[in-house]
Amino acid sequence: MTLFHELRKHKFLFDELVKRDFVRKYKRTVLGMGWSICAPMLNLLVLWIVFGYLLKVNIPHFVIFLFSGQLVYSYFSEASSMGMMALLNNAPIFTKVNVPKYLFLLSQNVSSLINFGLTLFLYLVFILLDGLPITWKFICLLYPIACLLMFNVGIGLVLSALLVFFRDMQYLWGIASQIIMWGSAIFYSVDSFGPTVQKVFMLNPVFVFIEYFRNIVIQGNVPGIEIHLLLLLYSTTALAFGAWVYKRYNTEFLYYV
């Protein structure tokens, strides 16, 4: 495949870009990396204090319930908001050297993926502490993780291209991701809603990802085939659309930066 061939050809550049994004993000501080783990933990603590302790939401394994939502959503929101900057931040490079522009987005996504990996590790620790059984079904989690990765790359491609054309996308996306957050049932359950409303929630990809995690980890059952197909549809659509945007506007970005 030409893509893999091209990736191999540009592996050195890709590695160096990843390294650079890492340095940019953490500024060579130990705390920098620690902070990216602390932030979701603090977020989790606040959510737990408000909903679990003060409002006494009655959901079994509420900490894990919250963490499942937080895990997926924070990966999505970080990958999309950081990925959004990928083209604009690298404009000085691609206006002077002819390199494949998607490399910038992919390297940006590596940092977010590493963060996700660290949070995932803490998530598993929390599951153990909670006393929930870790079964062979956990292997299934690789499926939504792979889909989520594709989905995030796709969204990042679309957003980074849009930001080049429309600079206010940053603020608009801030609002959009707030709406997605509230619509992802991170700190409430959709069980009490009617079946139609529950179907509407399925239109939110982030929600479907979160539910998959909760199904495996808390209920201990593997979601049906339709959920798998839905996730595949969301992630391939996002990725295909993102790839199309980059291909279509590859030579146009130059005029707008």
């Binding site: 050195f12 550049l13 590695d15 160096e16 870009l17 390294k19 650079r20 340095v23 940019r24 500024k27 000085p92 490079i93 691609f94 206006t95 002077k96 050297v97 002819n98 390199v99 849009l162 429309f166 600079r167 206010d168 996308m169 608009l172 030579t251 146009e252 130059l254 005029y255 707008y256």
Partner: protein, 247 residues
């Protein structure tokens, strides 16, 4: 002689207008009102030339003549609106060297990143790194963040990395004047060495002396139009000089 580059009747449009920085909200409003306009301005219009191995083409012309745009199209960063560019072989374009470095990375990290951008391999960079550092006279600054370097030092490093290229087509945009006097001499020598290495070279320069001295062919652009093109370098240079004096 082996032809490595052929540019046939190339026109390159640049989009201009107030579409930049307007944002999605404003764009929607303007679309609805019907006053959203994008103008296409032809920065290069109907230019043709060709280049064979070992030749050196000088491109001259005032500001806004379309020189940089033409080079961007030759290197593949821009795509011509019409016409054709046929390349046989690798292209290395050394445009505006000093920009594009990251201020937070060290000299070493920036050197590797730049090398990767120029298409070198890691093995090549490992082998050449010390030489690059020495040539740029930056041995003591290896682990310093880039922002602590002076502008001159930055362009010295840029030149040292770029001058390791071994392309079939080499594009030089005003890079022969880098650094202070001593370094300029050194870089000039290095440049002539690369040119002597057999690559087909395109040189954009405001120094007619340089063009007279080095080039075997010349292309004169004015406001995107091709004024003259040929191997009679001396004659075209004189024409250009007279043209400039007339204003």
């Amino acid at each position: 002689m082996q032809k490595v580059l052929e540019v046939r009747d190339v026109t390159i449009g640049y989009k201009t207008g107030d579409f930049r920085d307007i944002g999605l909200k404003e764009w929607v409003v303007r679309r609805l009102k019907g006053n959203y306009q994008v103008n296409v301005f032809n920065a290069v219009h109907g230019v043709s030339f060709e280049l064979s191995k070992g030749e050196m083409l000088g491109i001259i012309g005032g500001n806004g003549a379309g020189k940089s745009t033409l080079l961007k199209a030759v290197s593949g960063i821009m795509v011509p609106t019409s016409g054709e560019i046929v390349r046989t072989g690798s292209v290395a374009a050394l445009l505006e060297l000093a920009s594009g470095f990251d201020p937070d990375l060290t000299v070493r990290e920036n050197a590797y990143l730049r090398g990767a951008m120029l298409g070198y391999t890691r093995a090549f960079m490992d082998a050449k790194y010390q030489e690059i550092l020495q040539f740029a006279e930056l041995e003591e600054f290896e682990e310093r963040p880039f922002k602590q370097l002076s502008t001159g030092m930055q362009s010295r490093l840029a030149f040292s990395i770029a001058s390791q290229v071994d392309p079939d087509i080499l594009i030089l945009d005003e890079v022969l004047s880098v650094g202070d006097g001593a370094f300029q001499e050194k870089s000039g020598r290095k440049m002539r060495e690369i040119i002597g290495g057999g690559a087909a070279t395109i040189l954009v320069s405001h120094s007619l002396d340089q063009v007279r001295q080095l080039c075997t062919k010349i292309l004169w652009l004015n406001k995107g139009e091709q004024m003259e093109y040929g191997t009679n370098v001396e004659e075209i240079c004189s024409l250009y000089e007279r043209f400039q004096k007339r204003g």
